[in-house]
């Protein structure tokens, strides 16, 4: 990890914070609009004691979705017909340790650390943590998310995992 690009990091962090803000407020359509049409959302699974799955075509991931897959997740949440997803928990995303670097081709690589607290009356409170690796792309409106990788550190998963609580 080379020099710290404060201006680029601030620009990227603003997008990450905005994403967290929309997820915590359940503004699903606004949230999805942050993603490019060819976006990939990937949460690798735990593999062994210290690793994660690496190749989504050959290993099992927790979540590996393209844009229609993300839209279908919103359909599932908003339909309120998923037994696990209604009522939804209240969530609070905390995003920190953001660091951005230019990756060429109008793309920016961003790493960050996250915590999500989820609360639902009938369940124990759930604290999850992990790392994000983003690829952001410069588009007309500013920056958009072309790829989001979410490393979920929990190796004994309590409660459902969905796009809004990791």
């Amino acid at each position: 990890m080379s020099g710290f690009d404060a201006a680029l990091t601030a620009e990227a962090a603003e997008l990450l914070y905005r994403e967290a803000w929309h997820l915590d407020r359940r503004e699903w359509e606004v949230w999805l609009a942050l993603y490019t049409d060819d976006a990939v959302f990937w949460a690798p699974a735990i593999a062994g004691d210290e690793g994660f799955s690496e190749d989504p075509d050959n290993d099992v991931s927790l979540i590996y979705l393209d844009r229609p897959g993300l839209e279908a997740r919103i359909f599932r949440i908003e339909g309120r017909d998923s037994f696990a997803s209604a009522p939804l928990p209240h969530t609070a995303h905390v995003v920190s340790n953001v660091r951005a670097t230019e990756a060429g081709d109008a793309e920016i690589e961003v790493s960050a650390t996250w915590l999500v607290n989820s609360f639902r009356r009938t369940d124990p409170p759930i604290l999850r943590a992990g790392r994000y690796a983003y690829t952001l792309r410069r588009v007309e409106a500013g920056l958009a998310i072309a790829r989001k990788t979410v490393y979920v550190l929990d190796d004994r998963i309590v409660g459902p995992i969905d796009i809004f609580n990791i």
């Binding site: 699974a45 735990i46 799955s53 998923s82």
Partner: protein, 442 residues
Amino acid sequence: MTGTSAHAFVDDRPGDGIFRVRRAAFVEPGLFEREMERIFQRCWNYICHDSQLGERGRYVRGTVGRYPVFAIRGLDGTIRCFHDSCPHRGSMLTRGRAGVQPTITCRYHGWAFNADGKCIRVRGRDTGYSPEALDRLGTDLKPVARVASYRGFVFACIDPDAEDLETFLGDARPFIDLMADQSERGMEVLKGESTYVMRANWKLQTENSTDGYHVATVHRNFAHTVRQRETLSGGADDARAKTEASRILDLESIRSGGYDVGNGHMINWSDRGSPEAAPLNEAREAITARFGEGKARWMIDRGRTVTIFPNFFLNDVASTCIRLWRPIAVDLTEIDTWCLAPVGETAEARRARIRKYEDFFLPSSLAVPDDVRAMEVAHSGSLAAGGDAWNDLALGYATMVAGADEAARELGARPLYSNPGRESETPFYAFWREWRRRMDGR
């Protein structure tokens, strides 16, 4: 609770057409100890698939009831299973859930063992111990009484007098074969596992695993969601990328059924609405040539769950899944899940299999979270009136028949009872009869 016969929990009166389970069977804390002793410590327990024990010295941790054990590929290539406990002072010996330890060294005091379980080092052997003392305490790893593999599925049992594994699996075997026979080169567990927690009794997972009645209610959301996704994608180019939702939404248009195959094992099946969506469809010709049309139909055109008493299942419906559920307490269960795949399938089939697996079998999927929720509220609700209410498992009783139905005969399988239609509760009788028999020590 000790001293109460399990007959007080299972009201089985075949002559009167009545089969009921008292809800206290799920929530009564006093039953848990007895289940550990009389079921898990006497039954065969699934440990791992042999593809997870590739090279010599590779181990996988497991449990037999509450006993920590590990299976390991020995120096001679044999799979053995040992208590995960140092003969010296009892420390667990494995360092993680899985790994390679050709020499197993106890981290506490440094005793070491080879992968065959032979002690190869006692620190202070010559200076601190008398030969008599070493003889008395026994320095080799303590093997689990029984370990056996059926078609690559490795089981262990700590009861030296238990029936052998093949006898225990009995008439579930032809259904296990439908998973094991999918590639001439064998099957493999894919990288990327998951362990998740359910705040409910383990027997709710056993029932849920073979319960065809909840599919149309709990999983209609899964079916609607994947249909929505396919509409948004504008239809996939590859048929395998599609998810066949019709088996969930259009039950009246497909054949389905359930079997009690004895020894507590249960089968549930449904024909696929669109078999071309099955990743195994590419092997149809080879499979038909090897096994004939009847078995090929069962392997490719028919989704199946095989629930093995008490806590293990193979599911080949949405994708191919191995699931093991470990009772931790009366109201807490840990569930492990893996994707099992045919060695040598095409990249397209592999990718489709993995995506379908992720759609259904994970705590981050479109189905398992809904199942877990359903089981958790079934547990909570069963606490009403102290569990003093009955689950009357009458659904489908009128259509149950003794012996094999036509579909079972196609496979040469020999169920004790068959039910045409997956929306029946009669396969549960298999589990509860075995549970009662073992709990009462018969």
